[in-house]
């Protein structure tokens, strides 16, 4: 049987019902473990003092914020090409999570910026592109809300997601071109030289894994809700006809 079988709502409900508890459990475990480790059992950084602890929220959130948008892009494409309702609904279900993650990255970042850079907000490229990403999420969700015919909404939001992604990349480069920033570079690069100390690195990885699992679990649940809502709409419509 092909993978697309799972895109059948009924089928998805069955499999997800089986998967959900596992992911929920794992997500809870890793997240709590990672954050505890990060908060309680990591040393202070010689420069940044205890503020490094923020990294365990900030970086995973920031990564998820970006990756969730990518995931939405993929599901939108699937919807446009294969017309599988589940994937459209998955995109819809993911958006609020992405929005929250973006917000967390922004807020923790802002809070971090106060001691480190002496300002809540600086028009640093990375910060700025995140602000833009935030706006993208807002627009995407607003469009979903504004259109009540679900299929129309799915189509339009998918198109928006495609075009938006292109412009998001454009904006990223534009912003880099516009203003050089004071934000740190990638600290998870593969060559261990320029990596942050293991003392931070390991718990950070755990946190990241935790955030990923958390996203998957919540996504499954929210998608189930969306499917139910969709079916409810269809049933009511049918009732209206009868």
């Amino acid at each position: 049987m092909s993978l697309w079988e799972y895109a059948n709502p009924k089928r998805f409900m069955q499999t997800s019902a089986w998967l959900l508890p596992w992911f929920t459990g794992l997500a809870g475990l890793t997240m709590v473990a990672g954050l505890f480790w990060g908060f309680f059992f990591t040393p202070d950084d010689f420069r940044q003092g205890s503020t490094v602890k923020i990294i365990f929220l900030h970086v995973p959130a920031a990564m998820m914020a970006i990756n969730i948008w990518v995931m939405m892009l993929v599901t939108s494409l699937i919807w446009l090409v294969r017309r599988h309702h589940v994937s459209a609904l998955a995109a819809k279900a993911a958006a609020p999570i992405g929005l929250t993650m973006t917000l967390i990255a922004l807020l923790t970042g802002a809070i971090w910026g106060q001691p480190m850079w002496g300002t809540w907000w600086a028009w640093d490229p990375r910060l700025t592109s995140f602000l833009i990403l935030f706006l993208f999420y807002l627009g995407y969700l607003a469009l979903w809300e504004a259109i009540e015919n679900p299929d129309t909404a799915a189509d339009l939001t998918a198109v928006l997601c495609l075009v938006g992604s292109v412009f998001a990349v454009l904006s990223r480069y534009a912003v880099l071109f516009w203003n050089q920033g004071l934000h740190q570079g990638a600290s998870l690069s593969l060559d261990r030289e320029e990596n942050i100390a293991d003392a931070f690195w390991l718990p950070l990885v755990v946190c990241i894994v935790g955030f990923v699992l958390f996203f998957v679990a919540l996504l499954l649940m929210r998608t189930r809700t969306e499917i139910r809502a969709r079916r409810l709409k269809a049933l009511i419509a049918r009732e209206r006809m009868a």
């Binding site: 602890k53 929220l57 959130a61 923790t108 809700t225 409810l232």
Partner: protein
């Protein structure tokens, strides 16, 4: 409780805000899930009698 030095406020507020946001998201998701599930169940119940 680790001693957070002079940055206690920042670190704590960062964790506070984040956990609050996540909790809000999860809570809202659960609420909506429950509401929709119940609505759907009673709708299906309503449908069944007078068949399709």
């Amino acid at each position: 409780m680790p001693d957070l030095g002079k940055y206690a406020a920042e670190v704590l507020s960062a964790y506070g805000v984040s956990i609050l946001l996540i909790a809000a998201l999860v809570g809202w998701s659960f609420l909506r899930a429950g509401r929709v599930r119940r609505a759907l169940e009673e709708a299906e119940a309503r449908m069944k009698p007078h068949g399709r």
